[in-house]
């Protein structure tokens, strides 16, 4: 039987090897296309914009004349809005994560909160803009202000912070908590003095990623009503404002080439900020992992 059947295999090794090699090359090419596009994007923007990146670009207000236009207003707006949004998302997000991981009973309500958070993370950012417009700008009557913008962005990145903080807290071994309880510490004392210090680098990584998301967000703030042409820096939480991505968007939409250069220069600033934040997050994550494996 065995001998008879053997002859019926037509293995075609040459063809299969060839297919395998072609497939390998295709896979490699795919990934190179992705990386190549990234390179093309970075190089293209650098070539378009690097001449405009200088001190006066950072310290000038936008202008009708592309040569004189700068990002001062947008830069200050971004810093105010994102710093406030980050602080809000950090405090609420970490608190929520602590509740969900350390306090919440494992019941249907906790499950609903979890599913809800997962789904909120998938809601298009522009929908948060509509929410911000209706709730913060109109209902709470904050106007199209720095405060309303920060609240909107804080809600947008809150799920990211919660999910990251939950993971970081979960990674703290239960034995640490048991050790705390065994010494008579209350739950909060255990969390505050033992769990959070351990989880902190992981939480921080999540917060940095969330903030870097907030830095780049454009659509929700446009919908919420942030201005596109702002010749002033915000002078308080209720001041009107613009942010860097909106300024870039505004310049991209202009037909004049000079504004496109300004947009590219703005993008360079934006990317430098984002890349340094990402690098920081990666660095923290690596240190954190080493300590856990340690």
């Amino acid at each position: 039987m065995a001998e008879i059947v053997r002859g019926q295999f037509d293995r075609q090794m040459r063809r299969r090897r060839l297919h395998g090699q072609i497939f390998h090359i295709l896979c490699l090419v795919s990934i190179l296309i992705g990386l190549g596009m990234l390179a093309a994007l970075l190089i293209n923007i650098f070539i378009d914009g690097w001449q405009r990146v200088n001190w006066s670009f950072l310290t000038s207000f936008p202008s009708r004349h592309p040569e004189g236009a700068g990002i001062k207003a947008a830069l200050f707006g971004s810093i105010y809005v994102v710093a406030l949004a980050g602080a809000l998302a950090f405090s609420f997000g970490v608190a929520a994560a602590i509740y969900l991981e350390e306090y919440a009973p494992r019941n249907w309500f906790a499950r609903i909160i979890q599913i809800n958070i997962a789904n909120l993370a998938g809601v298009p950012s522009i929908v948060y803009g509509i929410l911000g417009l209706e709730i913060f700008v109109r209902f709470l009557d904050l106007g199209k202000s720095v405060l309303a913008g920060s609240f909107t962005l804080a809600l947008l990145v809150l799920p990211i912070v919660i999910i990251a903080a939950e993971e970081a807290i979960r990674a703290v071994p239960p034995s640490i908590r048991e050790g705390g309880f065994a010494l008579g510490a209350t739950r909060w004392q255990t969390i505050w003095r033992l769990v959070l210090p351990q989880a902190f680098p992981g939480i921080l990584t999540g917060v940095i990623l969330a903030v870097s998301r907030a830095v780049g967000e454009t659509a929700p703030l446009i919908v919420m009503g942030a201005l596109t042409f702002v010749p002033f820096t915000p002078d308080g939480p209720l001041s009107r404002f613009t942010v860097l991505p909106i300024q870039i968007f505004n310049w991209v939409s202009r037909p004049q080439e000079g504004f496109h250069e300004a947009a590219a220069a703005g993008i360079i600033i934006l990317l430098v900020v984002l890349l340094s934040m990402n690098a920081l997050a990666v660095l923290l994550r690596n240190r954190f992992q080493r300590r856990l494996e340690g």
Binding site: R16, R17, H19, G20, F23, H24, L26, C27, L28, S30, I31, G34, L35, M37, L38, A40, L41, N44, I45, A95, A96, I98, Y99, L100, I112, I113, I115, N116, A118, N119, L120, G122, V123, P124, S125, I126, V127, Y128, G129, I130, L131, E134, R138, L155, L158, I162, R187, V215, G216, T218, A219, I222, V223, P245, I248, F249, H260, L271, L274, N278
Partner: protein
């Protein structure tokens, strides 16, 4: 000596007892307050959802008092800002579908193949370099991709064919595909890497080539995760705003022609927000009807993706 020690002990325990009595309230009241505060923070997310849903439904309901749902869903003209008003979402829907499907045509093969390369072929060192670089790609703001689409990809496309307008769905699709590629590849790769090594070995032991192991064992075993990744990425593309706003145009054309200007649902919301349409008018309320449609579509896809992961996940020991 012995007496001395016990005296010392009792003075310690007295001190503890006194501290305990005095601080019972101090210790446990804050505990309860903290728990309540943390709970309130946790339900902010619930209120966010309630806020989104109620705002969209409430405002959209006002819109639908003046425009019939039938017209909204069937009319092929979307001209709320013109003198002769039509409120058919189909042009915005086709615009959204055109760009998202186009993006998936780019992201699906490239993302899946990249994932296969990273999971099955790449040496560990290459993987450790490429993955963070792809994460950078995922972290670039969409307005930057918009710039890239309009001022880099579109000119190239127009050099290839004269039929392509300055604003077109094709360029936006390609760049959006690049934007969601890292998401497709990283989620698919996670799914593939969770396929146990023993399955790969089983297939190799039967005389399979790497291609056959990848396509006949690893991908089928990881299929639920891969499909979920595609759906999630498509949902992301549907909700994406800045690339399509900048590069695809603001002309609600009922067409699947990728060469002409179109408008997506998200781009329309931005267009109204940037304009001078007074809030409270019917024209302005359109953004809630469009926003609600967008929310429902993306939510449905996200839920579907989660369902697939839960329902079809193969459980290995």
């Amino acid at each position: 000596m012995v007496r001395h020690q016990s005296a010392l002990e009792s003075s310690f325990s007295d001190a503890y007892a006194a501290a305990n009595a005095a601080s019972r309230w101090k210790r446990y009241l804050p505990e309860r307050i903290i728990k309540v505060v943390l709970f309130l923070c946790a339900i902010v997310s619930i209120f966010t959802t309630i806020g989104i849903v109620s705002v969209l439904i409430f405002e959209a309901a006002l819109f639908f008092q003046e425009v019939s749902i039938f017209e909204f869903l069937t009319s092929t003209k979307w001209t709320p800002l013109f003198a002769s008003k039509h409120f058919g979402i189909l042009p915005l829907l086709t615009g959204t579908l055109l760009t998202s499907i186009g993006a998936m045509f780019v992201a699906l093969p490239l993302g899946l193949m990249s994932a296969i390369y990273l999971s099955e072929y790449a040496p560990e060192t290459a993987r450790q370099i490429v993955k963070p670089v792809l994460e950078i790609l995922a972290g670039i703001p969409t307005v930057v991709y918009g710039y890239f689409a309009l001022l880099f990809v579109t000119p190239i496309l127009r050099a290839i064919s004269d039929d392509i307008s300055v604003f077109n769905g094709l360029s936006a699709s390609i760049v959006m595909g690049i934007m969601i590629l890292p998401m497709v590849s990283s989620l698919s790769e996670d799914a593939m890497r969770s396929v146990p090594r023993s399955l790969r070995e089983g297939a190799y032991a039967l005389g399979s080539t790497k291609l056959e192991v990848s396509t006949r064992v690893v991908i089928p075993a990881a299929l639920s995760g891969i499909v979920a990744a595609f759906i999630l990425a498509t949902s992301r593309a549907i909700g994406e705003t800045m690339i399509v706003t900048i590069a695809a145009g603001q002309n609600p054309n009922f067409t699947f022609n990728p060469f002409v200007p179109i408008e997506t649902m998200t781009a329309y919301i931005v267009q109204v927000s940037l304009g001078d349409t007074p809030t409270g008018t019917l024209e302005f309320k359109t953004i809630f009807a469009v926003g609600l449609s967008l929310f429902v579509i993306t939510l449905a896809m996200n839920l579907l993706s989660q369902f697939i992961v839960r329902r079809f996940r193969e459980v290995y020991e």
